[in-house]
Symmetry: C2
Subunit: 410 residues, 2 copies
Amino acid sequence: MPELFTLVPPDEARARLFEHLPVNVQTETIPTPEALGRVTAAASRSPMSLPAFPRSTVDGYAVRAADTLGASESLPAYLTVAGEVPMGRAATVKVDLGQTALVHTGGMIPPGADAVVMVERTQKLDDQDIEVLRPVAVGENVIHVGEDIREGDEILPAGHLLRPQDLGGLLAVGLTEIQVARRPRVALITTGDEVIPPSQPLGPGQVRDINTFTLSGLIREAGGEPWPLGIIPDRFEALKAAAARGLAEADVVVMSAGSSVSVRDMTAGVISELGQPGVLIHGISLRPGKPTVLAVCEDKPVFGLPGNPVSAMVVFGLLVTPTLWRWQGRTDLPQPRAVKARLARNVATVAGREDRVQVRLEQRDDGLWADPVFGKSNLIFTLVKADGMIRVPLDKTGLSAGEWVEVQLY
Amino acid sequence: MPELFTLVPPDEARARLFEHLPVNVQTETIPTPEALGRVTAAASRSPMSLPAFPRSTVDGYAVRAADTLGASESLPAYLTVAGEVPMGRAATVKVDLGQTALVHTGGMIPPGADAVVMVERTQKLDDQDIEVLRPVAVGENVIHVGEDIREGDEILPAGHLLRPQDLGGLLAVGLTEIQVARRPRVALITTGDEVIPPSQPLGPGQVRDINTFTLSGLIREAGGEPWPLGIIPDRFEALKAAAARGLAEADVVVMSAGSSVSVRDMTAGVISELGQPGVLIHGISLRPGKPTVLAVCEDKPVFGLPGNPVSAMVVFGLLVTPTLWRWQGRTDLPQPRAVKARLARNVATVAGREDRVQVRLEQRDDGLWADPVFGKSNLIFTLVKADGMIRVPLDKTGLSAGEWVEVQLY
């Protein structure tokens, strides 16, 4: 029973999946302070100009700039202090010709004034009068109404991942709620007669479930909510029932199939009965990660990942993570964290297949080096020991020691 | 009342703070599946060898390698199938001279066998016999006991930020609980008579609280738990009471003081009365972010950040974030996400001061460019519009258009 895969390169596989997958962002409105890491579902516009009043950027004296013309240490301008602007209230004092008012950083520029002289550039004569030792230009040390943002201006576009400063900008103009994409619920199905929960003692021939937990972590990192459906035995009907439940109640289904061909074929069989159009790709030209199934069933993506924990994580990062962001309507797809390093040893690969190689970073006197992690590519501890991974493209048969590589950091 | 700052460069300020701040990691034991993003508090060692039994990496036939010596398509080796190894159970079949057993990927290598021939390299003759078409070496297609990790080997060191694959490695060997650093509780105090909660209508001269929310986001991103104590009026006793409560009940205190000199001085005064040794640094040579107070009171760090939202975020990233990771005992301090780009316009700065300039990234035909965001450095929307920031070192008076810069991404 030889495998008959028509292997598709990873980038093409992702493109083909997206072709068949409608983007139909589901939204919810949540309090802005809780929206960190969520994706905006609509562009937001400012309901007001910020600042709403002209503010001073310094501690000093609000003046008419013309009154300070030519002022210097030897020939200061003399001004009468008409009052003080209190913080957090309207300026009641008015600055007339020859007058000034004490103003604090962030305080309102009083009517009549058009600039602020820093306190360091003044000299107090008595309770009523000051000397101004340098001239100021109109608008100096003043933030004008709308200088931060104007009423009606766009604050953020749709499809934007919300960062701490974005919450600040929204709240600054009083937008205490925001419409964001709902988090995708991701059904996680693990199969394998040999797989047991990590809390159980290991019998002969058994291994503990890893994928439920590694993939739950990756789902969270991509804005989703993991919904583990447990370890399903290697029986067609049991697997189909679990997958059908996942498809009905979740937004995305991720199955990590057993590793043997018969179990993988069973997974593909189950997926092909789930809904239309069904299996799009069966096998990608990637190592690790070849035995991957990509499907769309009733407008929902269904992934049959390899059971091997390393393959499952690599394929998840290349195909599921972008799908989850796209589901949330994110348009500024994240660049992975990456550093440049020199390869410490030769890496041999096979042309026509994209390879991902786990590396550990080493800071040497002459710079950063990436040292491939020894061991078969399907051992979880190669990933634990790795700081990142490098990519050997389809058209190469390897990379040479000393070559510069880009390391995608974990 | 000119300011009398003795300004300290940011790196030196951080070093001086750390000198006075003991690292005393507080630990808790939590379920491993919930430990994503937490910091390990102790090194962990594997209680078992993984795999616990020799496993096949392919679907095929377990053999004695010697039996396949010289096998080829024209002169195959003939072997008798003694049975099949079931998944998830011990192999009961034994492989003697001239015998073989069917084995699935991940299945146990039966006693007697020392290698596996891939199914594609065999030909079935009848229910009992197969032809082997290629020789295998001893150990081929087999993962040996302990090849992933050996009993007693270190899994992870202390001070390591837990990633999805780390949870997988721990659970694979049955470590369902892990000792991690407790999350630091960070008291957040905002002051300013002009500051109101974002949900309230804005009166004349008032501004909405931003820092509570931007800094809460940064605290979460650094593994901490924000504990906002509200907006405190600009009165010494009220501020002192809030700070004392924060110091007593939290692990770290962050105050974002009003922007005026008098309020900043009050904050410094409050901090200096909180405990020993008190204020270490008053003013750093950084723009934005000069009016920063760093203190250690009763072995806890206390930060007086500038009230301006941009300054507060920049200083938080440079000084508070590393402090929160250090508090958790993290040793692999994170490199910020960064890209290289060319500067689109000249940036002028002042020597003797480190500048952080907000930039927007632009992908042009000839590569990536960093375009400084226009606007005064203290406007929140300069941060909202920015993709990252660049650093102009202390000893420079600016950067020229076309120069390569490193952009720290948000």
